[in-house]
């Protein structure tokens, strides 16, 4: 029983970070109907920008984090301007393929600049680990969960309580209609990509904090795929639930199945779960209920 609570609890904390990754994919998918396959690379870019500010320039965490996120947002905006904007109005498939290309391009650039060795990444956040004797939740995952959840909350507030968020939701539904009513759709897409890459950076920083940062950390970004497909590609709530499901699934498999000799099964389990979910609900658990008029 203690094992179970431990596994579910730590799974949920990691899952919240996956939710944030999923949210970034969903934001971009809703706005431009393209799947951002470069999410892992965006994550590493954000983490390295923060790394430079925090570890190289020794800025205090409270200044380095917002600056790092702003830098990541800027990087996202530049990438959108150069690679995505020329494709607005074209088929979303071409945009998706461009993000695949971007993934390779950014990874190669990062390797040229930073090399392929690991950088030690330790934030030294205040210790808030919970230790009851039987249960142990480490400080890092708890911080990760808190930060991911608050980032999620900020994005939700932005989307559902501000006029810019309303414009983003309108543009997400239909770019042409939004343009006709005076919403600058190109500007909105720029904002969405910037916001999304800032959120990816938060997730990246938290994930790097679990271990080390290297150009190969981008593989973690692929976790976003089962998250959004389980939750539903166009559902923000689905991203939250999907992330938690993937996190819990991973840690349960790690606790119960891996000791049986299935080493590394943890990495595969979310995809098996994904297959099962897609067989039952092809739109994902929370995919939008299409408005059908009779």
């Amino acid at each position: 029983m203690i094992d179970l609570i431990q596994a579910v609890g730590s799974g949920m904390l990691v899952g919240l970070v996956y939710s944030l990754l999923g949210l970034c994919i969903v934001l971009i998918y809703k706005a431009s109907e393209a799947f951002n396959f470069a999410i892992g690379e965006f994550m590493v870019v954000g983490s390295f920008l923060f790394y430079i500010l925090f570890f190289d320039l020794h800025l205090p965490f409270i200044i380095a984090l917002p600056l790092g996120l702003a830098a990541a947002a800027g990087a996202g905006a530049i990438i959108q301007r150069l690679a995505i904007k020329p494709l607005i109005g074209r088929s979303p498939i071409s945009m998706t393929i461009v993000t695949l290309g971007l993934a390779f391009f950014i990874r190669a650039c990062l390797q040229l600049i930073f090399g392929s060795h690991s950088y030690s990444f330790f934030l030294e956040l205040p210790d808030i680990s919970i230790d009851t004797g039987e249960l142990l939740f480490l400080s890092d995952p708890i911080w990760a969960g808190i930060l991911a959840l608050s980032a999620f909350g900020v994005v939700m507030f932005f989307l559902f309580r501000t006029r810019w968020g309303l414009a983003v939701r309108a543009t997400s539904e239909n770019q042409a209609k939004a343009m006709a009513f005076g919403i600058n759709a190109r500007m909105i897409l720029l904002i969405v990509w910037a916001a999304s890459s800032a959120c990816i950076a938060i997730a990246g920083i938290m994930i790097s904090n679990f271990g080390a940062l290297s150009t190969m950390s981008s593989i973690v970004g692929l976790r976003a795929i089962p998250v959004v497909l389980i939750g539903g590609m166009d559902s923000i709530g689905g991203a939250l639930i999907g992330g938690i499901i993937v996190g819990v699934c991973e840690s349960m498999v790690g606790t119960y199945l891996e000791p049986l000799g299935l080493i590394g099964f943890k990495e595969v389990a979310p995809y098996i779960l994904l297959l099962i979910v897609l067989l039952i609900r092809p739109y994902g658990l929370f995919g939008t209920v299409r408005i059908e008029r009779v």
Binding site: R169, A170, A176, K177, A180, F181, G182, I291, R293
Partner: protein
Amino acid sequence: MLSVENLRVVYHDVISVLNGISLSVRQGEVLIIIGANGAGKTTLLRSVAGMIDFYDGDIIEGDIKVGDSSIKGLGPTDIMRRCGLTYVMEDRPVFWYLTIEENLGAAAFSRWDREVRKDMEKVLTYFPPLKSLRHKKAGYASGGEQQMLAIAMALMTKPRILLLDEPSLGLAPLVTEEVFGIIKRLNQSGISVVLVEQNAHAALEIGTRGYVMELGRIVLEGKAEELASNKDVREFYLGSGEKSRRSYRDARRYKRRKRWL
């Protein structure tokens, strides 16, 4: 106040849709543009509203002017802000997954004044059916309600010129009448209207002037009453010619003749 001069528009670099079209909209009038499918009516409105780029079209010749300044090449947001020109696309351009109130709010995005809230109430009094639905998703509203919402959204942008693309599309005759009544009232409150319609009968009733478009050109121009009583228009758009057309070949001859006008 709005004039289009010898406009030529090409889609995807090869498909020529507007072949040198010129027209003018006067202050405070309801201008009707009628024409068959594929005549280029929607393309004309898209070009004027600055949205032709989005559909991969190019203005290769001619100019669009509001007053004395050219608006060719400006984006839709700029055109709306500078000239008070709002384009209501065809097929009820409302955001299905937003509530009616959010729809109105989204349409007011280009405005920065503090009166948005007040205007929303004012606009809703124009359209009583929308008032009771204000917290419902627009996708669940009926066709007539959606068309009213689309016009209400256009009003939220405080237009001086309103471009309406087939507001009667898919609406029952009674609802069409209601929508046209609203358009007439808006016009009386000082908004110039350009109305593109297939429903020539109803449109010519509320219009002051009209153009007939065919194959990307203007083939006829005149006062609404004149057009409504024009023999050719009666035969081909109002479906009440003196003698019924014998075969499709005659229609084509009509077209060939008109092209030289």
